[in-house]
Symmetry: D2
Subunit: 347 residues, 4 copies
């Protein structure tokens, strides 16, 4: 299958290529970047040197659609929406990595993203690309909206516990994110000397993944909860850890059972249970480079909460990995194709 | 004044020496370490090479007391208590860096520290060594119990806001701590290759600083709150950031006023208000190497909470710095002596 | 093909498993560790959780030989040699990751490794497992001695330039190595707080890879040179950069031609030539997680030297990757099988 | 004494302020920055928040000279020279942190810095501000040119050994430098995600500190040597390690004697001799935050070289620290004033 990537010079675009150059069913035929047009992909993504001779093109999404079967949009929020209405006319399959089609309620775009979403009918055609929750819909989808990175870690680690009786409808989520979550753009605060050894509360309130998390948790559990999310950027490049406080009670056996029941044989969800390991709880260190989401918990009897953890590679299971997994499902490929690699450990 | 340090080979003991070798009122006359007895201090604490010729002695606290005016106990929890009853007989001044005399309610030692505290009368003689809350008591104290590192950051950043009306008595605290907070002891999980790029939830529930934080917040505000603390070790050596969710409402002006009113002219508390800086919120990067506690907040209107931040150097304002500040106060020295250094930035 | 790994709990053993669990021709049937006998492999190597259910066995190499077609020895120097004489009796294929059979001259073991090598005849049966130099011999080999990590980077980056006229027979090599090069063993100097932000000259003289580098450079060029190697451990986990000073003259075109001629179509050698990239010279950052060796140079007209660079992942192209590549060649598999993955970038 | 700093928003300017705000003899009365004019110093240098209320002014060096007794020029190479001729007319004392007046031979500016130096007479008035080599000249100086950072580490660690008989006049210097050595300016290669875990050969040949090192080594030893310098930027913010190969022979006792004799009682030079420490050789980790230069060596009998090490904080002993030390000397203050602080360890 021929695929194209719009906005391929960013980290998400680069990660898509990292995964797809090895995918036996896929041929990447066009990758676009206005800024780096004409340059070799491997100049910007040096991991791909020796693996592809692709060059960035300055090509419109519409023109790209004429050359591919499926198009990935690795664009900022508010930009995908400019191209999608035209693209759907062409019949090309679309996997949008932005937030522009994640939220089912179009009214939420104004307060959370600052723009009026003028295409409520198009929203209905998009499936939220989280295979563990929406596999059947993805099978029949033509259009996918890939989940946000913090959203993924939060949803994976909270959803199974919502069948518990909650003493509060507010769930506190503290997210620690590597720098690649902030993109490859340039500003002074990102300079190495300013950023090394820093813990930066870059979005302590009003994080845009909030409504997306709430939407999917309601979908998964039938319960409306409110997410109190604070996001921090920490001293590393890849990886996310979310620590969530779910105010509820339950013993170890009950909680492990909930996790097992919720995830069954999901191959990319790992339950972190080994208390004799150096990694007793989910830790980005053990997932970076992989498509795994590691889930675990601790029980706080003192304040009667379950502290649940999710750890993912923000660029893989938090972005390009879920996109490829959805692509595999919607095209009838082996769901795990190109994704069943171990994390890079130690690194 | 002559001082001695028991347990001087650890990071807290080392930091005490870093501060005290420059202190014009102080002569360090004895430092003990069973393990490193006879070795030069600068072998273990290479920062002190060229600044002191001290050697570690294998000397009992009681024998040390005979040679000094004031003794610092840089010992693990449960060990200080073995020596304090004997030491108080000698008349030596004591600054205990462990938790053994921090909690006013002796009943709390069993559930939180695992031992019965047999000296309730001694507890009464100790002052909690946080100058901003207990300056007057410290002036007249002979015995000081220095606050814990996460406790310090939490108390500094939460206390001022407790005069707000709270919609929940539970305050969620997420702590991110450098590796030096876990001491210099040796175990496999601390090996660099295992620990680099890791975010380790080392104490996600039941952290021992919990009752200490609650005690002091009640002291400062008259309100009983419950602390839901989760502590993570992150990819750096020094520094703590605590992110706390206080469920309450208030506008920017009100909250800044609360901070200003609470801290007045406290020289070691800095309010982080500059939204045009690279460091909009408190960040360990801007305090390490200093005795400052940086405090700031963000307002979350969506879930009606104040997100407050505290950033300190865990070994200085979170341990040795507060100890020296208390020492200055209780001995009538200039309170800021030896402590008014800028952080090391950038590092 | 069935393979076993002796000493599988170390980082080299773990990396072998990372590569082999995905290898379509390979079944790992036995992995040994005295210390972790009975424990799941994924406790020690958390990257493998979900990818294998193997457990460490306490099994002798000889017993393992009865169960596999090929045995990897991931053992310390001086230990492999205890088992190899027995193993060769069994007919099992051997890939030894230690130095015990790398040096063709048995006399060199005493001065460089401290032991008399009692098996000069066995040495002759081993092929130095560097495919780019010894591919034909590897094809017919039964026994392989895998190159050392610093040796690999040095040989790859120096050998092509030795056809130049040298003004000195001494080549200065400065190596910067990630912490995983020092193994997973425990000692105080490895504790994170002691090792972070450090540059440690851990072997500034007398590095044991010296004779191995000299041997292979003579093999490749016919010239005897002396290597002045200084090895430093830097603030990262994976990766090696070697910077070598070859005292000779040559212009850019000549030097690029030498590299192209020497390496032809070698797929795992990449020439770093793009001066508009952020990575103008070889850099560990662009190879970690891959089997690539990145080679480049700069010309110093002032002192008339070529400064050549080699960058590899010490655990892959510097150890397990070359071992698997050799395994592929000697067994008639596709040489690139299981190895043609991009590096993990950015990380 | 009143001092001013031109170019105070960079890291060297910031470090000068870090040191001078605590200096009892100094009042900083003017700090300039075109770009940040009107902004508080603590916005850019957050370590100074709470310690100074200074704001950056957009003031010419000439105007600043009217307000201060001594002026620090923390400007790029090629910029100081535009202002110095005018400044010397005013009688103000000058400490120039750039290279514009370091080289005694004006002919060297064209090949190494790319500009013709039109003021050979002015050069003669400047003293190279390295107290250990030029203390007497500094005492009587009005104009100081502060040494470069890599130059400092190289000179300190090589000079004492040049009284040995050398078998080569080329000395190989490999420098590993933290990111702060590259300044606070903005470009894509400095973005955290691109720079973390990287070892970048940013100046492998033709480094501009070369002639400066050669000049001072000749001054110190009477011997002309040639420096083959390769500079790498490593995964940390502060600190330099230089590893130098001096081709010569000597036993341990001889070499230690040379060091002791050369440095006598120099308080800021520390000889690293303790082989039982975690830090057997000089390491940036043990000097950052201090004005110490740590010197040590290893003997390579195999290729007959002395491998000498220098470790300094590039912003302190490699820039602002030597500037302040020179200022102290030339003004008759205590030479150590404001500089005798321990490094920040561990960090």
């Amino acid at each position: 299958m021929k695929v194209g990537i719009v906005g391929a010079s960013g980290y998400v675009g680069g990660e898509l290529m990292r995964l797809l150059v090895r995918h036996p069913e896929i041929e990447i035929t066009s990758v676009s970047s206005t800024r780096h047009s004409g340059e070799k992909v491997s100049r910007i993504h040096p991991d791909l040197y020796g693996l592809t001779d692709l060059k960035f093109e300055d090509i419109t999404p519409l023109d790209m659609a004429g050359k591919v079967d499926l198009i990935f949009l690795a664009l900022p929020h508010g930009t995908s929406i400019k191209y999608v209405p035209g693209l759907v006319e062409t019949g090309v399959k679309i996997i949008d990595m932005s937030a522009d089609f994640r939220l089912k309620n179009p009214e939420l775009y104004k307060p959370w993203y600052g723009y009026e979403h003028g295409y409520p009918d198009l929203i209905k055609k998009f499936v939220y690309g989280m295979p563990e929750l929406h596999r059947e819909q993805i099978k029949n989808a033509t259009y996918i909206a890939t989940p946000g990175c913090i959203a993924s870690s939060s949803i994976y680690s909270i959803a199974p516990f919502l069948s518990l009786e909650l003493s509060s409808d507010i769930i506190n989520v503290d997210a620690k994110v590597g720098s690649s979550g902030s993109g490859s753009g340039l500003d002074e605060s990102k300079v190495f000397s300013e950023r090394f050894d820093s813990i930066r509360a870059y979005k302590p309130v009003n994080h845009r993944h909030t409504p997306e998390i709430e939407q999917e948790l309601e979908y998964a559990s039938g319960k409306k909860v409110k997410i109190a999310l604070s996001a921090h950027s920490v001293n590393m490049v890849r990886g996310i850890l979310t620590t969530s406080s779910i105010y509820s009670e339950g013993d170890e056996i009950t909680l492990w059972s909930l996790l097992r029941k919720f995830y069954g044989n999901e191959k990319f969800i790992r339950l972190i249970m080994d208390r004799k390991s150096n990694y007793k709880y989910p830790d980005p260190k053990t997932v970076i480079g992989s498509n795994f989401a590691d889930i675990g918990f601790a029980i706080d009897k003192y304040v009667k909460r379950v502290v649940s953890f999710g750890a993912i590679d923000n660029l893989i299971k938090g972005a390009a990995g879920n996109a490829v997994q959805s692509m595999n499902i919607m095209n009838g490929f082996n769901e795990y194709e190109g994704l069943m690699m171990p994390s890079l450990f130690p690194v």
